[in-house]
């Protein structure tokens, strides 16, 4: 009994060690030898990365990643490359990339210094701007008009802290209401319990596009904060990160990015043919022109 147990424990330790060896060996070698790659995707981050039903995934970042992987496939001279899609959440995306379950994560991950300790980030192709959504007939045009008004935001996001900082810096006071998720926060705006919804621009645009009457809402005011959203890869594999960045450079040089933006942010997208309607921001345009992997902290300094 004891011997059996011991050998079982040893086998487990062995398995863990082998897994670690797999994780540290080059992702490129793994792709070449197995002919498959695992892409981490989000379930409902419209239009960046989301499911269109039947375990199919699509979106701005997902399409970029498919282009990157196609480029890598050509470089490795593989005839076929099978892409496995692995849905991830905000909580598990970093661990899954670290332990090798996911080779390349194409979701909505902010590149910041805390995460950069654990994972690597490819060059930024999308810069998120925190904005304000209001009802079109509310007459609110800037954050100054929100003093004393009810402002909705989602629990567990950086926007909550952002609002707090703004209150302190400008000596104003918001009456904050917290939704438990983005849909809930939008419902607060829709039902009139909140006068404004402060959140990432793409999330606001996606929720407005999905609402009953998209024309009733507007995204207004100054940009409250900017954050680079980047494709995530393993930290200990600079070779793979370089291959991804080379592919990104090629995609940008070929002039694909404005087309991709047009496709995902300005045209009707599957599955419900909604139009997100978010114009290309100067910050994102700048990121394409000067490819870099600077963390969010560098954006705040400007």
């Amino acid at each position: 009994m004891n011997i059996k147990l011991r050998s079982f424990v040893l086998a487990c330790i062995g398995a863990v060690t082998i897994q670690n060896v797999c994780a540290t060996s080059g992702t490129l070698d793994k792709i070449k030898s197995t002919g498959t790659v695992t892409m981490g995707v989000r379930e409902s981050s419209i239009p960046m990365s989301y499911t269109t039903g039947d375990s199919r995934f699509d979106g701005y970042h997902v399409e970029v990643c498919r282009m990157i992987l196609a480029n890598i496939k050509d470089n490795l001279k593989l005839s076929t490359l099978r892409i496995n899609y692995q849905p991830v959440t905000s909580q598990n995306r970093v661990p899954l990339v670290q332990n090798g379950t996911v080779d390349i994560e194409c979701g909505t991950t902010t590149n910041n210094m805390a995460r950069a300790k654990d994972v690597g980030f490819a060059n930024t192709l999308y810069v998120e701007e925190v904005r304000i959504a209001v009802k079109a007939n509310s007459g609110i045009n800037s954050i100054d008009q929100l003093a004393g008004k009810k402002v909705a935001t989602t629990t567990g996001t950086t926007s909550v802290q952002l609002l707090r900082k703004h209150e302190k810096a400008n000596g104003v006071n918001f009456d904050e209401v917290f939704g438990k998720d983005h849909a809930d926060s939008f419902l607060l705006l829709e039902s009139g319990r909140a006068d404004a919804f402060v959140m990432d621009g793409s999330i606001l645009a996606g929720n407005i596009a999905n609402s009953k009457n998209p024309k009733d809402y507007r995204i207004v005011g100054e940009v409250l904060s900017t954050e680079p959203i980047a494709i995530m890869v393993r930290k200990d594999d600079p070779e793979f990160k370089a291959a991804v960045n080379d592919a990104i450079t090629k995609i940008v040089k070929n002039g694909n990015m404005p087309k991709l933006w047009n496709k995902w942010f300005l045209q009707p997208i599957p599955p419900k043919n909604i139009i997100v309607g978010l114009d290309l921001s100067p910050a994102t345009k700048n990121a394409w022109a000067n490819l870099n992997d600077k963390p969010a902290e560098d954006y705040q300094k400007k």
């Binding site: 567990g156 209401v177 917290f178 039902s191």
Partner: protein, 263 residues
């Protein structure tokens, strides 16, 4: 895994360590910007406020509905009251608590417009109070029905009306019997108050979700929140057991084993 308790001394605005971490708690110092500890205490206050208000609603309504359910069906009025209280209990204990909270927050104010002006603190307390009142009503009914039927008969023989027999004979006995299950119900209420985060009451659960995102120190934050929930529930437990001992009548059902030993 090392714990960094220092996270609670950091400012909620810039993440720098504040000047008066613990002294601010006792009013000795004043922080320029609130620290996570200050916020945690405020959140605890909200949790206790929600639990307290819903407890008041739940005990009053629960005792009332539980009593109505045991009324003797001797006339039409009583029959209506029994049906009404039965419906009340079945309605509020058959819907999940989170769904009830959303009903009170999103759905009912859409039909009863004045409710829109009520802050979410009140709405969630009503939801929790009604939900718990259904459970307390059943315990009170059980307490009343546990009494020997001779008590009710003796009251009637003395010429007491139904109201008087409940007021002077039945309820003083029955309410003492149900104190132990009521204790669990009150403790449950403290823990159930965590659903208030879903309707934007800044209580402990909302604090935990938000602060762990801001500080990336989830383990420390959740440990602190767990401790405060446990402490609150345990305090309720002690208070209830004090009430149980104080209201005990030696020689009756609630006189527990030590009273028996004294004989």
């Amino acid at each position: 895994m090392s714990l960094d308790v220092g996270v609670f001394c950091k400012s909620t605005l810039d993440g720098e360590v504040v000047d008066h971490c613990f002294s601010a708690l006792f009013g000795l110092g004043q922080n320029a910007d609130p620290s996570y500890l200050d916020w945690l205490m405020k959140a605890w206050g909200w949790t206790l406020a929600v639990a307290g208000l819903s407890l008041i609603i739940a005990i009053i309504l629960g005792a009332f509905m539980g009593t109505l359910r045991t009324l003797p069906v001797t006339n039409g009025m009583n029959r209506v009251l029994v049906r009404f209280s039965t419906m009340w209990v079945e309605l509020f204990r058959n819907i999940p608590i989170l769904v009830q909270v959303f009903l009170w927050y999103h759905v009912i104010p859409a039909f009863i417009l004045p409710l829109k002006a009520l802050p979410s603190y009140w709405l969630v307390s009503i939801a929790l109070g009604f939900f718990t009142s259904a459970r307390i009503a059943e315990q009170v009914r059980a307490g009343i029905q546990a009494l020997p039927s001779g008590q009710q008969m003796a009251a009637t023989a003395l010429g007491l009306t139904t109201f008087q027999s409940y007021r002077y004979i039945i309820l003083p006995m029955a309410l003492r019997i149900v104190i132990p299950p009521l204790t669990s119900e009150c403790m449950n209420l403290v823990k159930n108050s965590s659903v208030a985060f879903a309707v934007s009451v800044p209580e402990l659960t909302l604090f935990a979700m938000q602060a762990q995102e801001e500080t990336s120190r989830g383990v420390e934050i959740y440990l602190a929140v767990t401790f405060l929930y446990a402490l609150s529930a345990f305090t309720v437990n002690r208070v209830m057991s004090l009430i149980e001992r104080r209201t005990r009548i030696p020689g009756f059902i609630t006189a527990s084993s030590d009273a028996v030993l004294a004989h």
